[in-house]
Symmetry: C2
């Protein structure tokens, strides 16, 4: 049975009050047909991130429920936190998972935006694959000026933003893999040098963002990687390259961590690469075939 699945990973401007956090989370998870995969509070940035998935219509309903709950719970006038933000339900991206394309996620973002503006009277911006203007593709551009002094007029609605809930940035993007590689050195400069050599912004590998960081708790340096399009740049390519750059600098990779979740397809690419499979196809995987089994009697 073919599934149609998308994910939504909204950021809300509340990371300290457990009751407000719970109100938003529960509004999302109470929506029929969605599974809440994660919900995290970040007191430092006074933000929270929720991850949920399901069929497109259900995920859209849950996103709306979360935005409405955030509007009810959060008053931006009493808000503090270092992270730049435009509103209570700050950023709401849809992410294609299976049987759904990025274009459909962008269309869904537009439908959600209409509903948010029409029913909640929150001004809406569209970004990334849902952007209506080239200069609004990048989130940083849309968020510039923040809640109090937005640099751009909304795509739906007008300035000023909503007095207590601000605006809402809705969009569609590809799945992002967050992957950290730990080095057998405590020298953060080596991690920073490797990161510089592999990241796209300094001429490295397309779709790769990377920084070098020092992990105090483990006394080691780490290359922290975001891969924004694993279908264009397979994860194994990034890993092989980090290993080569590490070797060239006289260090090795001691271990790695997957942050959050990784799609099955990305792991299949890695396995097929390691195994040198000549003609890999997902139908070679038993479970992919089993999904077509009808329910038993």
């Amino acid at each position: 049975m073919a599934q149609r699945l998308i994910e939504c990973v909204p950021n809300f401007s509340e990371g300290r009050d457990p009751a407000k956090f719970a109100a938003i989370r529960d509004a999302i998870s109470a929506t029929a047909g969605v599974a809440l995969l994660g919900a995290e509070m970040d007191p430092d940035h006074n933000r929270s991130v929720m991850t949920f998935a399901g069929e497109p219509a259900s995920v859209c309903d849950a996103a709306y429920a979360g935005i409405a709950a955030a509007q009810a719970a959060i008053d931006m006038r009493g808000h503090s936190g270092v992270h730049p933000r435009i509103g209570a339900a700050d950023v709401v991206p849809f992410v294609p998972i299976e049987g759904v394309g990025l274009e459909e996620c962008a269309a869904l973002a537009h439908r959600l935006g209409e509903r948010v503006w029409n029913q909640l009277h929150l001004p809406v911006y569209f970004y990334e694959a849902a952007a209506l203007h080239e200069e609004r593709v990048r989130l940083e551009n849309v968020r510039r000026g923040g809640y109090l002094n937005p640099a751009l007029p909304p795509d739906l609605g007008t300035l000023p933003l909503h007095p207590t809930a601000g605006g809402c940035i809705i969009g569609a993007r590809k799945f992002l893999i967050a992957f950290n590689m730990n080095l057998n050195t405590a020298d953060v400069r080596i991690a920073q040098s490797i990161a510089r050599r592999v990241r796209a912004s300094s001429g490295g590998i397309p779709h790769v963002k990377a920084i070098g960081v020092f992990l105090q708790s483990r006394n080691l340096a780490q290359v922290s990687i975001n891969l924004t399009d694993f279908e264009q740049t397979p994860l194994y390519e990034v890993v092989e390259r980090v290993r080569l750059e590490a070797a060239a600098l006289g260090v090795t990779v001691a271990g790695s961590q997957i942050v959050g979740l990784i799609p099955k397809k990305a792991l299949e690419q890695v396995a097929a690469h390691f195994l040198q499979v000549e003609k890999f196809h997902p139908d070679l995987i038993l479970e992919n075939r089993l999904r077509r089994i009808p329910s038993g009697t």
Copy 2:
């Protein structure tokens, strides 16, 4: 939603007559709740292999339907073929896939055996994890003497075997991964030497069977591997070892082939190994989490 899945991979003593082959195949695939994953005729050996999966009770029903259809279609008295065999539905193994243990598959084999003897009057032998006697664990032992002159009395029923359909060997075993690694040499002796170094029977890696063969069509030597327990011996261990032995003999692995199907878990092990993930868990995979999503409204 947790699934309970097993597979069944019966061998039938008919690999030349398309009508008889189709009759058996259709009896299996018409059973509610099972998916036919493969069905192959082998004219040389005059045998066919079918692969199907589903919930245990459905798979058991389909196996029974296949055995009954084979009994109706095949007359062993007019049978020829080099492969040793005991009956029309020669060997019927159940294989645990998900949420079901090997012991439960063995119990299912026993239930199927009772039904086959009571309703079809075919004498039944039990082998591998379903064996009732130590010396019947290995299929070769049970099959010794063949249809005309079986060396052992059946576990259910008595000799002589059924006049036209012989007996039926029913059992339970773990999933077998068939994996071939091609070398950048046409020298089959190198493949044979590598196979000897890695296979369990000559002191190599546990749960590994391997032979060296020459592929005429591609003019290259191949190490052909059966891994009978990938949970005890991960596939990556076999692959790394073959690469080492190949390098020691001055050749490299040019590519590989997965024969039949490979379980998701085996690929996850390979990916986690290549990526050096410190604490890999299947819950890190998006789709494994998504399976718990209730159906949308």
